[in-house]
Symmetry: C2
DNA sequence: CTGAAAGCGCTAACAG
DNA sequence: CTGTTAGCGCTTTCAG
């Protein structure tokens, strides 16, 4: 990499002259500017990012800590973050916590040494279960802002972007009730997560409200055979005529299992699930989905963090932004 | 963030003494070392990463350029890269090219200013179609090593990690032929990619070799309705009794479509597809899959790049590593 | 055993 | 209009 020094030497001017010329300073003569820029162009000079970061005490880099990149929703949020950050001139350093509290702490530690200007993160499952938040507070107190999305730690004062999980399942369940479904089940393999609990409550409220049935809930453990579980659950509860799936795979599996058990979807049984477009087509008929607008969430978090970074002096109050879900009607529901 | 300067001031010693003490230099007296370390601990001192990078002219950071993070295979490779890089003390900066040549070039440019020590990348679709490689060569000539994985540019001299795509479909097809399948179709929505072409050739070679049938290939465009396409293809070609799917969704969709058309899987029709474990269970019966060991690929690329970075003086020859696929027998094939 | 000084690449205040 | 200098935080050589 060419440096200012080398350009200066070759042009027989001082380093600062070169620097100013390249930064279009008014101080430098036209002719000099031309000569400098020409040579810089020729050598494909690019200011050294590390030197700039040191000088200006900011890296224009965001640390992103994601629990699981194989989760389609989280990957999509990451996609949104990357795109927005790039647009605004920032890079992202990605760490994967693997749902582990320890790794989450480590990642925070490892990057809180000048590597990044701030963090975007989704709280790890273990962290939510143990309800630990000290490491977040420490980081913030070191002057590194955090924006949390989806799974957030309520006790931490920081910007947040969340989904209206409660309303989403509440409304979806209402929708099935309007189809005159008599026995609606709730499937979930994310009962440990804050969002999982909210989704369950939304469902439960809807069914209880209309006084038609008790909640009927299948909780699936991470390590269980999900396909077998759902199949036998449907087999045992033959009168289930509606399903709300809280996670990204249960809905698809439920459709396939129901079809396999000889039921017509959506005539005999309606299914709504959280899923992306690309997963929805894995089911036949296609799963009617609750869409979380992951890319929007990603873009919002990035905007929020960058806004804060570029207005650190203002000390603005923390905000929580709710991104509304929407239902995409496909073929697994009547209306 | 506390700096050496502040520690030095508080301890009434020089900056270099503090630095040496913290780095366990033999030069410094026991007592001084103790005092310094104590205070550093108290203030939670961490050496500034940016300053270190500037000084040592290396960032311990890898630029990763991925075409599409929503592709499960690529996400999994990224996961493998991140884990291995972290283990070896490196961070990763992730850029998403979105299959665009322009974005790929930009990302390379943007990071080739001291931000990273080298690159890991999977060539964008547009780049493969246009067969452009100059930007890769430029980057390498600037002293930034590249390791390519999966989709590689053969004309670029750099380390590579690839999959035995040809053998994978060749062997899978052979497997179906052994089941005495008479009409095996090949489904693909990745015909533009180098790996897509290899997979097709592996399939074609196998069916032609045994002289039993002409290749029967369904190419699906990215924007087509994949589900409809596959369904009508199977409907039209009623005698299809075997399917090899080149991409990650066609296999799953084929099973569901076949079942829906009244066929028994695997009795009437066998299906093998490239897919991950988590996607395989979206089909009922479960898709027998060709597994690419994405995490291993990720780990290998990271190792390869870091090895090169830490042995830049050796000027070793470039290597190509092949990671063998394996077939995981599930329920959509007889054996 | 400890400290002063140089230098990594850059910007910017200040001097000329 | 151009150059000198200091300084961002750190390591390391060289002097003391």
């Amino acid at each position: 990499m060419v440096t200012l020094k080398q350009l200066a030497k070759e042009l027989n001017v001082s380093i600062s002259t070169v620097s100013k010329a390249l930064n279009n300073s008014e101080e430098i003569g036209e002719e000099t500017v031309r000569r400098v820029k020409e040579l810089a162009e020729l050598y494909n000079y690019k200011p050294n990012k590390v030197a700039l970061s040191l000088k200006q005490n900011k890296t224009k880099t965001i640390g992103v800590i994601i629990p699981n990149i194989l989760n389609h929703f989280l990957a999509k949020v990451l996609f949104g973050i990357e795109r927005e950050a790039t647009k605004l001139g920032y890079h992202i350093i990605t760490c994967i916590s693997n749902e582990s509290l320890e790794k989450e702490k480590e990642s925070l530690q490892l990057l809180a040494n000048g590597s990044v200007d701030g963090f975007i993160l989704c709280v790890a499952e273990e962290t939510q279960i143990k309800n630990e938040v000290e490491h977040f507070k420490t980081t913030i107190s070191q002057g590194l802002p955090i924006v949390m999305f989806d799974r957030v730690a309520h006790d931490v004062m920081c910007d947040k972007v969340i989904v209206d999980d409660f309303d989403a399942t509440y409304n979806a369940t209402k929708g099935l009730l309007k189809e005159d479904r008599k026995k609606i089940a709730f499937l979930s393999n994310i009962e440990d997560l804050s969002v999982g609990k909210l989704r369950e409550r939304g469902y439960a409220k809807a069914v209880l409200e209309e006084n038609r049935q008790e909640p009927l809930i299948l909780k699936i453990n991470k390590n269980d055979d999900q396909q077998k579980n759902i199949r036998s659950f449907l087999k045992k509860n033959k009168d289930i005529d509606g399903v709300i799936a809280a996670d990204s795979s249960s809905g698809i599996i439920a459709i396939n299992a129901a079809v396999n058990l000889g039921k017509k979807v959506p005539k005999d049984i309606s299914v709504i699930g959280f899923a992306s477009k690309s997963d929805a087509i894995h089911a036949f008929p296609r799963l009617t989905t609750i869409r979380q607008h992951a890319k929007v969430i990603g873009a919002e978090t990035a905007q929020m963090l960058i806004h804060r970074l570029e207005n650190m002096d203002l000390k603005e109050d923390v905000k929580t932004k709710i991104v509304k879900t929407s239902v995409v009607k496909n073929d697994s529901t009547l209306n």
